[in-house]
C-alpha cells in the first residue's frame, strides 16, 4: 500500500484571509541565499525541500507567510525560507506565533520546533497553543535527541537511552507527542516521516488546510547523535509490517496486501492478521470524530520499538479558532460600542473648574 494516498479534502478555508499571489510560484522562490548549515545527511534537508516544494501549491503571497521557530537544529529553518521569519528563543515559538497570528489574520503562520523545544522547555506553550486553537501550523521535528547541544536524551527518547548525560541510561519515561497533543484538545494532529516525501507533502497539505492549530509530528533522522532512530519504519524489510498508514473513513489495514489490520479487543486496539477476523471487525478510521478516543487509542498502539506506528492524520475536527473569535468580538464591539476617546477619558463623573477660579 502506498503512503501517498493520505488525503483529506483540501479546501483552503484556513487560508481564506491570506492574500493570494498572481504569479505562479516555484520551490526555488522559497529558497534563500543562506548557506544551509545542518549536518550533511540530516533529515531536516528533506523536510525543508518538501516544504519549499509544497508551498507554491497554496498560492499565497510569500510576504504573507511567516515561519517562527525556537531553538534547536530544526529552529534554523526560517533562515532558509524566503518568507518572513523569526528565530526566537527556546520553547517560546508557539507563544510568539500565537500573538502574531491572533493580531494578523491575513498571515499564514508556521511554527518549526523540535522535540526538546516543543515538549521540554516549551511544553507549556505547546499545550496551550493547541487548546487555544489559533490559526497556526506547528511542525514538530522529532529526532528523539538533543542535537544542537550535542547529544543529550530528549523528552521523546526511549527509556534507558545511553547518552552523554545518561551514561547508565535515561530514567524518565518519554512523551508520545501525538498523545500529548490529543490530550491537549488539539483540533488537528498528524504524524509523518522525513524519508517519505509524498506522504510528508500530503500531510502538510492537510495541515495547511486546517483552520486552527495543526500539529504535525515529523519523525526526523539525526544522523549524528541518533542515527537510525526510525530505521524500523524505513527498512523495506520491516516497514510494511510496522507502519500503519491512516486514511480517514477507511478500514485500518496494512502490511503486504493488507494482511494485518487493527481491531478492538476488550476495549483496546490491537493488531491481528486480517484473514483471522471478519471484515466488519476491522476498525474504520474516523479522523473527524468529535470524540478523540479512537485517535488516542491509535496513538498508543506502537511499543517503544515503534512496531505498529500509525502515520497520517489522527484527528481533524472543526472548532472556532481563537483569532477568528477574537476578531469577531472586536467587530461586534466596534459595531455596538462607541470608540470616542474623549468620552472614555471623561468617564461618568466630572467636574469643571472654571477659568475665573484660577489661582
Amino acid at each position: 500500500m502506498s503512503l501517498d494516498s493520505v488525503s483529506l479534502d483540501v479546501d483552503l478555508r484556513a487560508l481564506a484571509g491570506v492574500p493570494k499571489t498572481e504569479v505562479a510560484q516555484k520551490a526555488k522562490d522559497f529558497k534563500t541565499d543562506q548557506e544551509v548549515r545542518w549536518c550533511p545527511g540530516c533529515g531536516d534537508y528533506v523536510i525543508l525541500a518538501a516544504v519549499q516544494g509544497f508551498l507554491p501549491e497554496l498560492g499565497l503571497r510569500r510576504e504573507n507567510i511567516v515561519f517562527v521557530s525556537g531553538i534547536g537544529c530544526s529552529s534554523r529553518f526560517p533562515y532558509y525560507m524566503n518568507t518572513f521569519g523569526l528565530h526566537s528563543i527556546h520553547g517560546r515559538a508557539p507563544a510568539i506565533a500565537s500573538g502574531l497570528a491572533a493580531s494578523r489574520p491575513d498571515l499564514s503562520v508556521w511554527v518549526v520546533t523540535g522535540d526538546g523545544d516543543a515538549l521540554s522547555i516549551g511544553g507549556n506553550h505547546l499545550i496551550h497553543a493547541l487548546r487555544r486553537n489559533v490559526n497556526l501550523t506547528i511542525l514538530l521535528f522529532n529526532n528523539r535527541i538533543y542535537g544542537l547541544t550535542k547529544g543529550q536524551y530528549s523528552p521523546t527518547s526511549e527509556i534507558g537511552k545511553i547518552t552523554k548525560s545518561t551514561p547508565m541510561g535515561s530514567l524518565d519515561f518519554p512523551f508520545n507527542p501525538v498523545s500529548v497533543a490529543l490530550g491537549a484538545e488539539a483540533t488537528f494532529v498528524a504524524r509523518t516521516i522525513d524519508s517519505d516525501r509524498a506522504h510528508l507533502t500530503s500531510v502538510l497539505r492537510a495541515a495547511a488546510a486546517h483552520e486552527g492549530t495543526a500539529l504535525v509530528e515529523i519523525y526526523q533522522n539525526c544522523n549524528i547523535f541518533n542515527d537510525g532512530a526510525f530505521d524500523s519504519l524505513k527498512d523495506p524489510e520491516t516497514r510494511g509490517q510496522w507502519l500503519i498508514p491512516l486514511e480517514h473513513d477507511a478500514p485500518i489495514r496494512f502490511g503486504a496486501d493488507g494482511s494485518l489490520c487493527v481491531v478492538r479487543r476488550d476495549g483496546d486496539l490491537c493488531v491481528v492478521r486480517t484473514d483471522s477476523v471478519d471484515a466488519a471487525e476491522v476498525v474504520v478510521h474516523d479522523a473527524e470524530a468529535d470524540n478523540p478516543s479512537l485517535a488516542f487509542a491509535l496513538s498508543r498502539l506502537p511499543g517503544q520499538d515503534l512496531r505498529y506506528t500509525p502515520v497520517g492524520v489522527f484527528r481533524s475536527v472543526r472548532r472556532p479558532t481563537y483569532d477568528r473569535l477574537m476578531a469577531d468580538q472586536i467587530a461586534q464591539a466596534e459595531l455596538t460600542g462607541d470608540a470616542d476617546l474623549g468620552a472614555l477619558l471623561r468617564g461618568q463623573d466630572t467636574w469643571t473648574v472654571p477659568a475665573t477660579a484660577s489661582a
Binding site: 492574500p19 543562506q34 503571497r61 510569500r62 510576504e63 504573507n64 507567510i65 511567516v66 515561519f67 517562527v68 521557530s69 526560517p78 533562515y79 525560507m81 524566503n82 518568507t83 518572513f84 521569519g85 523569526l86 528565530h87 526566537s88 528563543i89 517560546r92 507563544a95 510568539i96 500565537s98 500573538g99 502574531l100 497570528a101 491572533a102 493580531s103 494578523r104 491575513d106 498571515l107 507549556n124 506553550h125 496551550h128 477574537m326 468580538q329 472586536i330 461586534q332 464591539a333 455596538t336 460600542g337 470608540a339 476617546l341 472614555l344 477619558l345 471623561r346 468617564g347 463623573d349 466630572t350 467636574w351 469643571t352 473648574v353 472654571p354 477659568a355 477660579a357 484660577s358 489661582a359
Partner: protein, 615 residues
C-alpha cells in the same frame, strides 16, 4: 436640633474593617463624592493579599485612607483624623496610627467576647479606659443597618452586609458630601438585583439620617472645594490612567493595541480595563504564563501592533529572556511593571520601588532598555504615552515603572485636551529598488526599519543570534559583535537628546540642597520639601521621569548642588546608578516597609540631613 458646622481645611479619614466588609468600596465611593465636590484628594488603599483572610483577625484587616482638602495636597496623609473601625481587629490594627485626641467611629455591635478574643483583647476596650485618649463614637452599625432594612425582605445576615453603606452615609453626612453619585452608583452596580440595590440605598440613607438626628454627633464639617487650575476634572487611579494612556497612544499612532498578559497583583486591573475596550480595536491575550504574555506581545509587535505586556516584579523576572530577544530584534514593546514588595512573592498588595535595578540590568549580555517612571496616579497616563513614544521612535522595548501605590491610589485628574497629546508615528518600512536591509539604521535615532509581514519585497529573517550590521544575517564575527553591542547602547543613549530640559522646583532660587526622586514618591517628597521650606531652609526638588537614559543635563545639575538627597522605597537603587554614573555623593533616605513614605517622617529625615549642611 440645630447642629454646629465647623470649617476645616483638610481631613484624613481611614475606613477599616474586615476584608469582607466592603471598606474599599466605601472608600472608593467617598472618594468619588469628594472628587465631584471639588476637593483635592489623595488615597491609600491598603489590603491583604488574601481575598478573604479569616474573618475578624488582624491579618484580615483591610483599610482605605483618604486625604482631602480645600487646597492642593500631594499625599494620602500621614495619620488619620477619623478612624472608622468596623470590628475589634480593625481598631487594634489601626490604633497605633491614630494620634491622641482624634475621632474613632466604632461599630460597637462587633465587640463580642469572641471577636475580642480573636485579636487578643482581654476586656472590651469600649468599656474600659483603653480609649480615653481619643474621642470615641460608639455606633451600633450592624444592628441599626438591620433595623433600617427590616422591610426589604432580606435576611439579617444579608442585611448586615450593607453596614458599609450605613457607615458611608454617616461619614457623607459628617463631611457634607454630595450623595447623588453614590445613589446612582448603587443602582447601577446592583441593577440586576433590585432588592440589594434598594437595601444598600436604604442603609446609606439611614446612615446619613442617623448623623443628622443623633446627639452622638454634634458637629459636622465643611471643607471647601480646592482652588485648582481651570479644566475638566475626574478622579482617576494609576492603573486606569495607564490603560487610558495606552489606548490614547494607540489612537495617536494609528496602531492597534495588543496586550499579552498573565494575571498578577497589582497589574491585573490593566488587563481587566483594556479587555473592556475592544471597540477601540484593543486585543487582550490572557496567556498561559508570564513568558507567553510577553512572547505573544512580541509576536504582535513583529506583526506591526502597538504591543504591551503588563506585570509585577516576579513576572518581570520570568520575562527577562524575551526582553533580551526584543532588544536583539529591536522591535517596539512596552513592558509595564507595577512594582510590589519583594523579593520572591513578597508583598503582593504593598508598594515598593525595588525593581529599578531589575529593569536596568535583569538580562544576560549587554542589553540596554529605556526606563520611564510615572509619578502620580494621573501621571500614569502621560508616562504611558512617553513610553510608547520612545518604543516607536527608537524601535526598542521600554519599561514603564509604576507601583502598587500609584496603581490603586487615586487623585483628581485634569482631563487632557486630545489635540495636544503628542503625535506618535509608526513609519513602517516600504520596499524600494535597493535590497532590503533590516538592520540599516536611521542616522539620527539609530532606529532600524520596522518591516511588517505583508509588505512585498521586505521578506527577512531575524532572531536572537547576533546579527551582522545592516543585513541582519547571522554573524559570529568579533568586530561585528563589538559594533552591534555599541550600536544598541548608542541608540538607547541617544534617547536623551529627545528629553526636554529638567525643571527644578526651587522657589528660593538659592537652595544648596536638591531632593531628588523618581516614581510614586513625588507627592510625598513635594510635601516634605514644602514643610522644610516653611521651617526656613530652602531646598530644591527634582523628580525624574527618565531613568534610562538619564536626561543629558542631569549630571551637571546634580553637581551644581552641595548635597543631593534621594528618598527611595528601596535600599538605594537609583542612588547606586547615580553614584556610578556621575560620581556624585548621593545621600539616600530609604524605606522598605511595603508602605509609602509619610511626609512627617521624610520631613524629619530631610531636616536632620539639612542640619549638617551649611545653607
Amino acid at each position: 436640633m440645630a447642629k454646629q458646622v465647623q470649617q476645616l481645611d483638610r481631613v484624613v479619614i481611614r475606613f477599616a474593617g474586615d476584608s469582607g466588609d466592603g471598606m474599599q468600596l466605601a472608600g472608593d465611593q467617598f472618594t468619588s463624592e469628594t472628587a465631584v465636590f471639588g476637593n483635592d484628594l489623595s488615597t491609600l488603599p491598603n489590603f491583604p493579599a488574601e481575598i478573604r483572610a479569616p474573618a475578624g483577625t488582624l491579618p484580615g484587616v483591610s483599610s482605605f485612607q483618604l486625604h482631602f482638602a480645600d487646597h492642593e495636597i500631594t499625599t494620602p496623609g500621614d495619620a488619620p483624623d477619623v478612624l472608622v473601625a468596623m470590628n475589634p481587629a480593625a481598631l487594634k490594627a489601626n490604633l497605633p496610627d491614630l494620634p491622641a485626641g482624634r475621632d474613632i467611629i466604632v461599630n460597637s455591635d462587633e465587640f463580642s467576647a469572641r471577636n475580642l478574643a480573636k485579636v487578643g483583647y482581654a476586656s472590651n476596650p469600649l468599656d474600659n479606659d483603653a480609649l480615653d485618649s481619643w474621642r470615641v463614637h460608639k455606633v451600633a452599625l450592624t444592628s441599626m443597618t438591620i433595623e433600617a432594612l427590616k422591610d426589604t425582605g432580606l435576611g439579617k445576615k444579608e442585611a448586615a452586609r450593607a453596614k458599609n453603606m450605613f457607615a458611608l452615609g454617616l461619614l457623607s453626612w459628617m463631611y457634607h458630601r454630595p450623595t447623588d453619585g453614590t445613589l446612582r452608583f448603587l443602582e447601577k452596580k446592583f441593577a440586576k438585583l433590585p432588592q440589594v440595590a434598594a437595601a444598600n440605598v436604604a442603609a446609606f440613607r439611614a446612615g446619613w439620617n442617623y448623623g443628622e438626628t443623633t446627639e452622638s454627633f454634634g458637629v459636622s464639617y465643611e471643607i471647601k472645594p480646592a482652588v485648582m487650575k481651570p479644566g475638566v476634572y475626574r478622579n482617576i487611579s494609576g492603573n486606569l490612567a495607564l490603560s487610558y494612556g495606552l489606548i490614547a497612544a494607540s489612537r495617536r499612532s494609528g496602531l492597534p493595541l495588543f496586550l499579552g498578559a498573565y494575571p498578577i497583583t497589582p497589574a491585573s486591573d490593566i488587563l481587566h480595563e483594556l479587555s473592556k475596550h475592544k471597540a477601540f480595536g484593543v486585543r487582550t491575550f490572557q496567556a498561559e504564563d508570564e513568558i507567553a504574555g510577553i512572547g505573544a506581545a512580541l509576536g504582535a509587535a513583529f506583526g506591526g501592533a502597538l504591543a504591551v505586556t503588563t506585570t509585577s516584579g516576579p513576572g518581570l523576572a520570568l520575562k527577562s529572556e524575551t526582553i533580551g530577544l526584543a532588544v536583539s530584534l529591536e522591535l517596539p514593546l512596552v513592558i509595564c511593571d507595577i512594582q510590589r514588595g519583594g523579593p520572591s512573592t513578597g508583598l503582593p498588595t504593598k508598594t515598593e520601588q525595588t525593581d529599578l535595578l531589575q529593569a536596568m540590568f535583569g538580562r544576560n549580555g549587554e542589553a540596554p532598555v529605556p526606563i520611564v517612571a510615572a509619578q502620580s496616579p494621573g501621571d500614569c497616563f502621560d508616562a504611558a504615552i512617553e513610553a510608547v513614544r520612545i518604543a516607536l521612535t527608537y524601535r526598542t522595548p521600554v519599561f514603564l515603572l509604576s507601583d502598587g501605590y500609584l496603581a490603586n491610589g487615586s487623585e483628581p485628574w485634569s482631563i487632557p485636551d486630545l489635540d495636544r497629546l503628542p503625535q506618535l508615528t509608526a513609519d513602517f518600512a516600504v520596499a524600494t529598488d535597493e535590497p532590503f536591509l533590516p538592520y540599516e539604521r536611521d542616522p539620527e535615532t539609530l532606529a532600524r526599519p520596522w518591516a511588517v509581514p505583508g509588505t512585498a519585497g521586505l521578506e527577512h529573517r531575524i532572531g536572537g543570534l547576533e546579527k551582522a550590521d545592516k543585513t541582519g544575517e547571522i554573524s559570529y564575527d568579533p568586530a561585528n559583535h563589538a559594533l552591534m553591542v555599541g550600536l544598541r547602547q548608542s541608540k538607547v543613549d541617544r534617547i536623551a537628546q529627545s528629553i526636554p530640559p529638567l525643571q527644578v522646583d526651587d522657589p528660593s532660587g538659592v537652595a544648596r540642597v536638591v531632593v531628588l526622586g523618581w516614581g510614586s514618591t513625588h507627592g510625598v517628597i513635594d510635601a516634605a520639601c514644602h514643610r522644610v521650606r516653611r521651617r526656613g531652609i530652602p531646598v530644591a526638588q527634582l523628580h525624574l521621569r527618565h531613568l534610562n537614559p538619564f536626561p543629558a543635563d542631569l549630571g551637571g545639575l546634580l553637581r551644581s548642588y552641595d548635597r543631593v538627597v534621594l528618598p527611595e522605597l528601596n535600599l538605594g537603587q537609583l542612588a547606586l546608578l547615580l553614584r556610578a554614573r556621575y560620581l556624585v555623593d548621593v545621600i539616600g533616605i530609604n524605606q522598605v516597609s511595603g508602605m509609602p513614605f509619610r511626609a512627617a517622617d521624610l520631613e524629619d529625615s530631610l531636616w536632620d540631613i539639612l542640619q549638617g549642611v551649611d545653607t
